[in-house]
Structures are given as structure tokens and as C-alpha cells.
Amino acid sequence: MADTTKVPEVREITRIERIGAHSHIRGLGLDDALEARQVSQGMVGQCKARRAVGLILEMIKDGKIAGRALLLAGRPGTGKTAIAMGLAQALGQDTPFTAMTGSEIFSLDMCKTEALCQAFRKSIGVRIKEETEIIEGEVVEIQIDRPATGTGQKVGKLTLKTTEMETIYDLGTKMIESLTKEKVQAGDIITIDKATGKISKLGRSFTRARDYDAMGAQTKFVQCPEGELQKRKEVVHTVTLHEIDVINSRTQGFLALFSGDTGEIKSEVREQINAKVAEWREEGKAEIVPGVLFVDEVHMLDIECFSYLNRALESDMAPVLIMATNRGITRIRGTNYQSPHGMPIDLLDRLIIVHTQPYDEKETKQILRIRCEEEDVEICDDALTVLTRIGMETSLRYAIQLITTANLVSRKRKATEVNMDDIKRVYSLFLDESRSSQFLKEYQEEFMFNEMASNDNDSVEPANENDNMETV
């Protein structure tokens, strides 16, 4: 019975990927009561923010907070992206999750709002069900009677069986043709789609495995089907609205989905699709799965995008929007106005804002340990303590960079473990950001095009102002 044996698809292929900055994150690390565990699933500390996002997660799972927005605000390196990644992992495969960076929308060959719109629609899933009636069984015998004259009606009989039953079907000319076309013979497992009459071969029965010695490598052996011959198969697909858009925009076709070169999609197409999906929803044929759109570095968006977001969030098929920013009070891009997080006040008003706090020493140590494990680096306790100090004094990211480099140094001297000297060595080899700027300040004169000393009013320029914010 297709209804009951349907189990969630298990992905057998492990993803091969490089070790990224957030590859150690496997979820939000919450317990059943949604309290954040201090260290779990690759997440460390940041308990308040994680708990807050955990609540959002539950609401997303229940489909309750479509069309809301969340802002993760915090200093650089406090785990904003990590939390978003954790959320994506915790949502699982079935909920659409789109991650993009604010600056991405400026570099595409389409207008900014179109890019945003596509990102929005990529984050909304539509769940639909396909139902087919099939006859599935092992071919016991095929009998085809050909008229002696060579022309005229062919008739035949097809005997099919499952483990439970066996039956004979009378065949018409058309079925005989498609059987011969598929080269069906006794011992094959076939399915016949009742609605279309399409025959497909699933493979050969195991019991016939020893019929021939020489067999093509592509011969697949399958078990004789169980249960009834006439089955009903139900397949649930989850597609995103964007996919439906692309399939239906006549100029592109499905291939555009792979090449990514979708161009702009006409708003009429979108409206028609919205209408159709709404109709299906009324008829109980489709479910909307509001997904999550994550926009990193959201301060890079300009005022046009913000006003578009304002509007888009009000649509009844909006996903959950999660944004992250590391800016304080700064200029809104595209205007001369200052605003908290570089976002207009009216948009901020719609958001739930979650702050991430800087990590303390213990947490930093824990994160570094997790990173060491993730990168397969053995490190001794002293070295880890030193690394933690470096992490506290400079930045966590810098300390994480040192792990790999220190590992290489230790391997050069054929050691299995990173010790203090390795850390010291890489610390002297690679400058962190503050030491580097210190160096620049000291030796400014010797660099080319130095203008810092000559005109001091340079620092008022907006570009510089933004850069300063980053390091606050």
C-alpha cells in the first residue's frame, strides 16, 4: 500500500564540502523546553538570542508567523550568521530557506526589487500532491497472437503477479505495441499507469536472477512486489513559487532554473500563478509552506529596497524574513538620514529585534575547541588558553584563522599536537587587524599615496565613516 509505506526520503549521499566558517553548526542547540543548552549542536553561549530564535523556529514550524521579520543585531563576530545557519539547519530539508547578502542585489543584471522579489518567492514553498493509480507486478507470461496474414488485429494476454495474487489481463493492440516497445518479457517487474497506459520497467525479478549467465550490467534486480496489483501512489512535492514562476515564464523554460539565468519575470505571470495557487489552496489541493529568507548585511540595502520590503511583508504569501546587521546608528543607504542599524524607522517598527552579545572568555574557548575539532586539529590545553587570550584581545575570527595556520606549523615540525610555540609563531607571522592598523599608522609616511597626514577632513567622508562603524 503506497499510503502507508511512504517514509520521508533519506539522503544517503553525504555532502562533500570544504570546512566553512559555519560548517560546525547543526542546529540551534535547544532542549525540548526551548531553553538553550550552553554548548550544543555547535552553538556556544548566546543563550538569550538562541532562545528567542528558537521561539521563532517553533512558530515557523507551526506556520504561524508568515510575513514577520526578525533582525539580528550585534557586533561583528558575535554569531549572527551562525544563529541564522542554525535556524536553517533546524528547519530541516522541507522548509525553503534562502540565504543572501544585502550586497548581492546590486550585482545582478536585473533591477533590485526584482532580485528581492525572486528571493522572496524562492522562500515560499507550495506543497502539492500527485496521485496515480498503477498496476504493479511481475510478468509471469506474455502471449501475443499474431494473425497469420501478418496484418490485422493482434490480441494477447498478460499474466501479472505479486507475492499475494496472480491475474490475467487481456491486451489490445495498443498495449501490445507498448509492451514490445519496452521489450517486456517474462520475469520483468513492470508498472502500468492506469490513466495513461504508460508502461515502465522497474527491473527484473530476483527469482529470475539465474535465468541467463550473460547479462547487461545495467540489469537491475528488484523484489517481486507485495500486496495488491492495483495500487494507488501518492507523491508529495514541495516546489517554491519561484520554480513555478520560471517554469511558466514562457521565454525561459525549466532549463533556466539550472543555469540561474532567469532574467526578469513578468508581473502578470506572477499574478496568474498567485491566483492559481490561491485557487488550489481553496480546493485543498495545495499547502503554502512559508519558508525563511535570510538577508545578511542588511544595511547594504538602499532605501528603495527597504520600502519594497515594507510592502512585500504585507503580502499574504510572505515568508519569514530574517536580517542581520552589525551596524549601529548610521546613514541609510541612498539617503542622507541617520537611523539605527542603517534601516528606516518604519521598517524597524515591524521587526522583532534580537541582540547578540559579545562572547566571554569561557565561551570563546569553547568555540575555539569546537573549531579545532571541526578542522581536525589536535591542540594542547596551554595553546588553547593562549589562543583564547588572543581571541579575546583581537577578535574571534582572527583566533579561528590561527588554528589552521598553527596546525600547519606544527605539522612542519612533525608534531601531532599544536603547542604554545606554534601559536606564538603564527601570531608573529600573521597580523591581526589592530596590529596591522597600528603598523600602518606608524609607517604611514613610507607608503604610497599617503594622504592621511595631509588632509584630516577626509575622515568625514561617508565611506570612511562606514568603515569605522565596522570596527566599533
Binding site: 511512504k6 502539492i128 500532491k129 495474487m165 491475474t167 495488491e228 512535492h237 517554469i247 525549466f254 488550489w280
Partner: protein
């Protein structure tokens, strides 16, 4: 008495667990019975279909089809009844079977859902959706590789 107390709560927990297990087993058993029933009905349906088929292809003899009679086996009894009558009976039977299969299948879903719930599994996604019809599905699949 603390010892007695823990013993009592343990006892209570045990019976609770047992009750739950019984419930799960019952639900699962119910599903299995239904599935078995479905298989039996389908077997019957196929046999009926074969019978109807062979009645249709009975070589027409000199006597007109109205008077023609056929041997039919109902249960354990062989009967000789008019051809048209036999066909009619079989076709009615077939319709009845179809209805039964449909209702069994419909109920089976609710039962599977309940079992999942009892076992604490997540509800299957999109289980309660109505299926798209063929044209709509074709529209969704157009141009996709592997659909042809």
C-alpha cells in the same frame, strides 16, 4: 513510607506504559488488518474482472445471446444461469468492491495518522492534501527532465 511510594508510582508508570503499548499495538494491528483486507478485495476484484472478460468473449453459438447460459461458480456452488444475468451480477459485485476499496483506503489514512501520533512520530507532510488532477500535474512538470 518512601519505599512504598516509589513502588506505587513505578507500578502506576508501568501500567501507563503498558496501556500505551497496547494502544499502539492495537492501532498497528488495525492497519495491518485493513491492508490485508485491501489485498483480499483486490484479488477478488481481479478474479471478477477475469470472469467478466471471459463471459464477454464467449463464442456465440446458434442460440441467441438471450437464451445462452453459462456455468458460474459462486462461492462453493456451480450455477447455470443466463449469460446476461451472470454479467450483471458480476458487474454489481465489482462496483461494490470498488466502493469498499475506496472507503478502506480513505480510512486507512486516518488510522496511519493516528498510529504516527501514538508513536510520537511527526505527522506526514501533505498527507491530507487533495491530489492535483492530471492536467495540472502535467503543467507543473512541463519541461522537467525525467518527466517526458
Amino acid at each position: 513510607m518512601p519505599i512504598d511510594d516509589t513502588y506505587l508510582t513505578m507500578e502506576k508508570n508501568m501500567s501507563e506504559v503498558l496501556r500505551h503499548l497496547v494502544e499502539v499495538e492495537e492501532a498497528a494491528d488495525d492497519i495491518l488488518t485493513d491492508k490485508m483486507q485491501l489485498v483480499n478485495l483486490d484479488r477478488k476484484k481481479n478474479k471478477n474482472r477475469e470472469a467478466i472478460r471471459s463471459l464477454k468473449t464467449v463464442p456465440s453459438t446458434s442460440t441467441s445471446t438471450k437464451e445462452q447460459k453459462a456455468w458460474v461458480c459462486f462461492g462453493n456452488m456451480f450455477l447455470k444461469i443466463p449469460l446476461t444475468k451472470a454479467k450483471q451480477v458480476l458487474e454489481e459485485d465489482q462496483e461494490q468492491l470498488d466502493r469498499e476499496i475506496d472507503s478502506l483506503r480513505a480510512n486507512l489514512k486516518a488510522k496511519v495518522n493516528r498510529l504516527n501520533e501514538l508513536e510520537g512520530k511527526e505527522e506526514l507532510k501533505g498527507f491530507s492534501l487533495a491530489a492535483l488532477d492530471r492536467n495540472e500535474m502535467a503543467a507543473m512538470k512541463q519541461g522537467r527532465p525525467g518527466s517526458s
